[in-house]
Symmetry: C2
Subunit: 421 residues, 2 copies
């Protein structure tokens, strides 16, 4: 008789998939975790790679290394192309894999709302490669400005636009302002980096719309103090290599970053179940796909409704869902029923810049240094298992105390800065 | 009257160019340093990025940041296409620049001895991108092996060939053996990474031919102890995606790294002066190009002869030449004559692996832990001005004490591992 009750296949090594695998480690099931990439990414700190404060390896770790002690878990690097729910198979680019239970945790990316041509001019921030591309563009823009004799063109190189004022957009805009005002201050001879302008453009009426309005006000005031031009109610009409059209106005800017919209992983379509507008699976209250008792969805791909509102898109939700799904699978293999999922909100916090953040912990709302220190502590705590929390803390200390962002490398395909299209 | 006696243009921000610029900082000359990249690279440690021990930012630093306090030095990111010696101009991809004195320090890269088709199968190690490409290939090879059911194909994925047993080749081979035997030991389920084979192929009769033969013997013994197959007198006849032909034998290997040959920067050709076989400038004894009193050559691009033998290719030589050239230019602008260059050899050391190295310090030759500690101290010392020597030391301590190489990320263009051509 086989030792293991069931074969659980987990697609995706983000927060949901990884925590599901950890929870199943050492349990009487056989687990295979698949990911296109070899590393788990600590996504909440990805903007720090894009802004040259941290190294890729500070926030990414090989998935198989995290799970090396879970002997019943096999990690494979592979690309899933679709799911054959009738035959309980995952189809891969180069093979297939049968499952008894499937945990679908392939997440979501940003959405250009149908304007895919904008992607070339306004990269989003989902992967290490995205972060390095943004870092390269920002640093190259200052290099180009230093070499550009024409003042109008130079100003366009020194103008940065972030679209979308969710947490990622706010964090990016704050960090760009810091780079211009503090980090690069002495590095140039012909330009003064402090002349750079940073725009944060948000279609909605306020920044950080998922937080209480009082915190939005605090965050916006902090951004303005740091030198960010905050444009709320600003609908992006067009983006090209020369700038952004916001409503009827045009901002001449050579560097635009996209931090808006949600587009679910296309794998969800192959389930044949109802999806929401962003393509996320409208899961049952136990996180199963409707009508598919062996398919579980966790993390950003799950449109889970609580009190009539979808909750998704935050790391703590994905972690809790991943664990819940793992425990439910164990219950099912033992012959009992899964329980419904409830999210325990332990608080939300968003950092804006050096010693500036806003936090909402179970209705207690605060900002400033206290929120920033809380943010710092919690993120250090959750970097458990990462390369080296001490090194990351060291890097941060260096960034914040010395105003030096150490990872200011321009790598990858580099033409002469003035030749960028 | 102008404050500055002359405009000095430095091409290249490697060791030679950077130390020339530092030496000219604050002196009565105007200096412009050009580089295609925004960063100076601490090349002696580049193999540690290729082997996942260090981050790119640990060994690379923005050139303009190093020189930020030298107010008479302007750093521009630009690509020089040729030199118009008659009109004392550097032609750029997007402009031109006049000089009174030119310091040509654009270095050299590896050479495939006319077999450029090998480059696709056997990348060399000169840039951050090269290092990340090698890191990706090595890590992907283990991922592919874990998924490959056929034992012959699997063995080819688990075979690694390094061509060329100079310092870089020796360091790479030693590090690959460590990765297989220690770092990845627990990470896989279907393969045992310790079954991997690492070949170091050298056409000459011994490894590290620039050192005393007794040290070559020590280094080879250490490599063998670490599990490296050392093949001396092995001429590479062919390289393709399936492996390497060495003499009459074929090694089936999916991962090959090239660490042989020298090809000088093609800019040297536009000087119209005699070059050696590798394309390096046969400089006068004061490091000037023959017949061009305002063109100075320093670093790997200079074929400087001492006692009838060309000395080149090591960081200390480049540093001393860069400084010498800077001092000579100041002498010339003051109306005196430059002096001839002499290299002060303070010792050569090559690391092989954890607690293993060989050193030759003014004829005193030693190996083992003592040489390794000496190597460590000297490299830490020379990382002055880098992001953060403490962080690098911390990373090393982590690598060596815990056998964990923290930067094991596969980034860049990634297809499914089994699909690599």
């Amino acid at each position: 008789m086989e030792n293991h009750r069931a074969h659980v296949v987990i697609l995706g090594g983000g927060f949901a998939g990884l925590y599901a695998a950890k929870e199943l480690g050492g349990k009487p099931v056989r687990v295979t975790l698949l990911d296109r990439r070899n590393h788990h990414l600590f996504q909440p700190l990805l903007y720090q790679v894009a802004t040259a404060a941290l190294n890729p390896a500070d926030i990414a770790i090989p998935i198989r290394h995290v799970l090396r002690r879970e002997r019943n878990v096999t990690v494979l690097m592979a690309t899933a192309t679709s799911i054959d729910v009738a035959n309980r198979k995952v189809l891969l680019a180069d093979g297939e894999l049968e499952y008894d239970h499937l945990v679908l945790a392939t997440g979501a990316t940003h959405s250009y709302f149908g304007n895919d041509a904008w992607a070339a001019h306004a990269p989003g921030l989902k992967s290490i490669e995205d972060a390095l591309e943004i870092r390269k563009r920002v640093l190259l823009a200052f290099e180009a400005a230093e070499r550009e004799p024409d003042i109008v063109k130079r100003n366009a190189w020194m103008t940065f636009v972030v679209v979308g004022a969710g947490p990622t957009g706010v964090e990016l805009a704050g960090a760009f302002a810091e780079i211009a005002r503090r980090v690069l201050r002495d590095d140039f001879r012909r330009i003064d980096p402090r002349d750079a302008r940073v725009f944060l453009v948000e279609a909605g009426p306020r920044v950080l719309s998922m937080l209480d309005p009082s915190l939005s006000t605090d965050a916006q005031a902090e951004l303005v103090r740091m030198g960010v031009d905050v444009v709320t109610g600003g609908r992006v009409m067009a983006i090209d290599s020369e700038g952004v059209k916001v409503g009827e106005n045009r901002i001449a800017a050579r560097t635009v970053v996209w931090a808006a919209g949600v587009a679910a992983s296309p794998l969800a379509k192959s389930l044949g179940v109802p999806l929401d507008r962003s393509g996320r699976v409208k899961v049952n209250d136990d996180l199963r796909a409707p009508g598919l008792p062996e398919v579980w969805v966790a993390g950003d791909l799950a449109a889970f409704e609580e009190n009539g509102k979808v909750i998704a898109g935050l790391a703590p939700i994905a972690i809790q869902q991943g664990r819940h799904v793992a425990r439910s699978i164990l219950r099912v293999t033992e012959g009992t029923s899964p329980e419904r999922f409830t999210y325990r909100d332990r608080g939300t916090m968003v950092t804006i810049g050096r010693a500036a953040a806003v936090a909402d912990v179970r209705g207690v709302r605060f900002g400033g240094l206290a929120a920033w220190l809380a943010w710092l502590l919690i993120h250090i705590f959750f970097l458990v298992g990462f390369r080296n929390r001490l090194l990351v803390v060291g890097s941060w200390a260096y960034v914040y105390l010395r105003n030096a962002r150490g990872s200011r490398l321009i790598t990858g395909d580099v033409r002469s800065p003035l030749q960028r299209p």
